[in-house]
Symmetry: C3
Subunit: 99 residues, 3 copies
């Protein structure tokens, strides 16, 4: 089986940011994304997701170059104003042209 | 704490495939699976999950031998006909007899 | 970009355990968590999540010291009585003070 190394970026934020974030991800080169509804709490004890449409978890699998662009955008445009959690991990994919 | 190395396989596909896929995973030796509802878009700009029951994300944690069988089945039986995203990562588990 | 290595712990269990588990995670030092609804099956062929409120998947990103405490608590207080799946992986985070 012919695997390729990619990065999986997971972003958790308020659901109200979904359309804006998807637009940004797509413009920066992400070819796809998977979104699940979530709820939770962050480090300032704020509970998110119980009100106002909840939280979303967005996952994108990309090459590192795209991830860097997305993470830079998150840092600049989202971190100052929103409770956003972001983590990155290594994954292997098949059909690497999809990512 | 007594960890064992396993593989986590994540499969994102249309929800209509759930029962067929679970049957295949189980026959191939996966002892368990976790499914969450999802929506998203893939590399051909198709939006999935907004219609027709949405997408699902299926996660299985297995030893590599089972993963190979599952991935081969996905390649042969699902990739030609369905929009399926698959990624693989390394995880550590406790109670390795569960996987 | 300034990444820090952390651990991602994923716990899948029955939804009825949510409030108890969150209380324990928080007491043990986890600063945040993300919860998604799930369903699935485990190694004893039990199907969970179709009845009684379903399953939940809880994800926490922490430093290894906290993860060890949480996993020890799971082993002692949850594994003997509940169907709980747990896996651990390596992630990179930004803004490490959040974790």
């Amino acid at each position: 089986l012919n695997y390729s190394a990619k990065k999986l970026l997971t972003v958790v934020c308020e659901a109200a940011l979904e359309s804006r974030l998807i637009k940004d991800l797509t413009l920066l080169g992400a070819k796809g994304y998977t979104i699940t509804q979530a709820h939770g709490a962050g480090p300032r004890n704020q509970r998110n997701g119980d009100l106002e449409g909840g939280n979303i978890k967005i996952e994108i699998v990309c090459e590192e170059k795209i991830i860097e662009l997305v993470v830079s955008s998150l840092e600049k445009d989202y971190f100052p104003n929103y409770a956003v959690s972001v983590w990155l991990s290594d994954v292997q994919v098949l059909r690497q042209d999809r990512y």
